[in-house]
């Protein structure tokens, strides 16, 4: 790599792999015993959660586990996702919990995590 590389058109090394469909994106991995996860998300933009019933999901064929806030380790239950750039001008801070079990504040907020074999 010398001064002669500046301004030179350098072909990328990864292109042939990507152009022939050999890339490895997240959903492309197939590992033995691999499980898949899906989040159950709030359909409501603002709602109070009265209860979460996981019994039907737990007995569904192929489901390995269902996690809600109660299943998280204690120190993670009320942890919120930190601000990436905290700013003193923010007077109404709102930060999301990992899983919500009290009050959802946007449609799509995660409530439960289901882990299954497909």
């Amino acid at each position: 790599m010398g001064a002669k590389m500046f301004g030179a058109r350098v072909p990328r090394l990864e292109d042939p792999r990507l152009l022939t469909g050999q890339g490895s994106y997240t959903d492309d991995f197939h590992l033995p015993g691999m499980l898949e996860a899906a989040f159950v998300r709030s359909p409501h933009s603002h709602a109070r959660i009265n209860g979460i019933d996981t019994s039907a999901a737990l007995t569904h064929e192929g489901v390995v586990a269902v996690y809600t806030t109660a299943d998280l380790p204690e120190h993670l239950r009320d942890t919120t996702v930190p601000f990436q750039v905290p700013n003193p001008a923010i007077s109404q801070p709102f930060q999301q919990r990992l899983l919500e079990d009290r009050e959802v504040c946007f449609a799509g907020e995660p409530i439960a995590l289901v882990v299954a074999d497909t």
Binding site: P11, R12, E14, D15, P16, L18, L19, T20, G21, Q22, G23, S24, Y25, D27, D28, H30
Partner: protein, 161 residues
């Protein structure tokens, strides 16, 4: 008990026989049953084009087809474009030479789309190329390199590359 069928689909010349749920999309069949992960899933509702494959020579959105609909049919995916392990197809080479890809996620869909397009329009204008790829979304490149690659590929294919 889920509704299942045994189907036989030929992809890039190889026949895959599998027993699948009838609700399995063709995209998921290609990716997870046949383990050909070059075909990508983006929006799953037919607007992004990442899942585009060639069904009996015509492009189609594989997320909008059921696997069972491909029973007995022939499919070509991005993995079947290069003539062999050592060489790239002129269209693919044009993409590399014209920086027509960055992350590569939209690329398989772009390639299948352009393969069909260039076969039917061997000498396109830039505008025609832009219209041809209007059903394939790219978040990285701004399309400039893709359009350049397509026009370059057209020249190469006409020259008998």
């Amino acid at each position: 008990m889920s509704d299942r069928r045994t189907i036989s689909v030929t992809i890039n010349g190889e026949t895959f026989e599998r027993n699948v749920e009838t609700r399995l999309t063709l995209a998921d069949f290609i990716r997870h049953e046949c383990l050909l992960t070059g075909t990508h899933v983006g929006c799953e509702h037919g607007v992004c084009g990442a899942c585009t494959i060639l069904l009996n020579g015509q492009t189609a959105r594989s997320c909008l087809m059921l696997a069972v609909q491909a029973d007995g049919q022939e499919i070509k995916t991005v993995e079947g474009i290069a003539p062999n392990d050592q060489e790239l197809h002129p269209l693919q080479q044009a993409f590399q030479d014209n920086h027509g890809l960055q992350c590569g996620f939209c690329t398989p869909g772009m390639l299948t789309t352009l393969l069909e397009f260039l076969e039917n329009n061997p000498d396109p204008t830039e505008r025609e190329v832009r219209e041809a790829i209007s059903g394939n979304l790219c978040r990285c490149t701004g399309y400039q390199g893709i359009v350049a690659a397509a026009l370059d590929a057209a020249k190469r294919l006409q020259a008998g590359a």
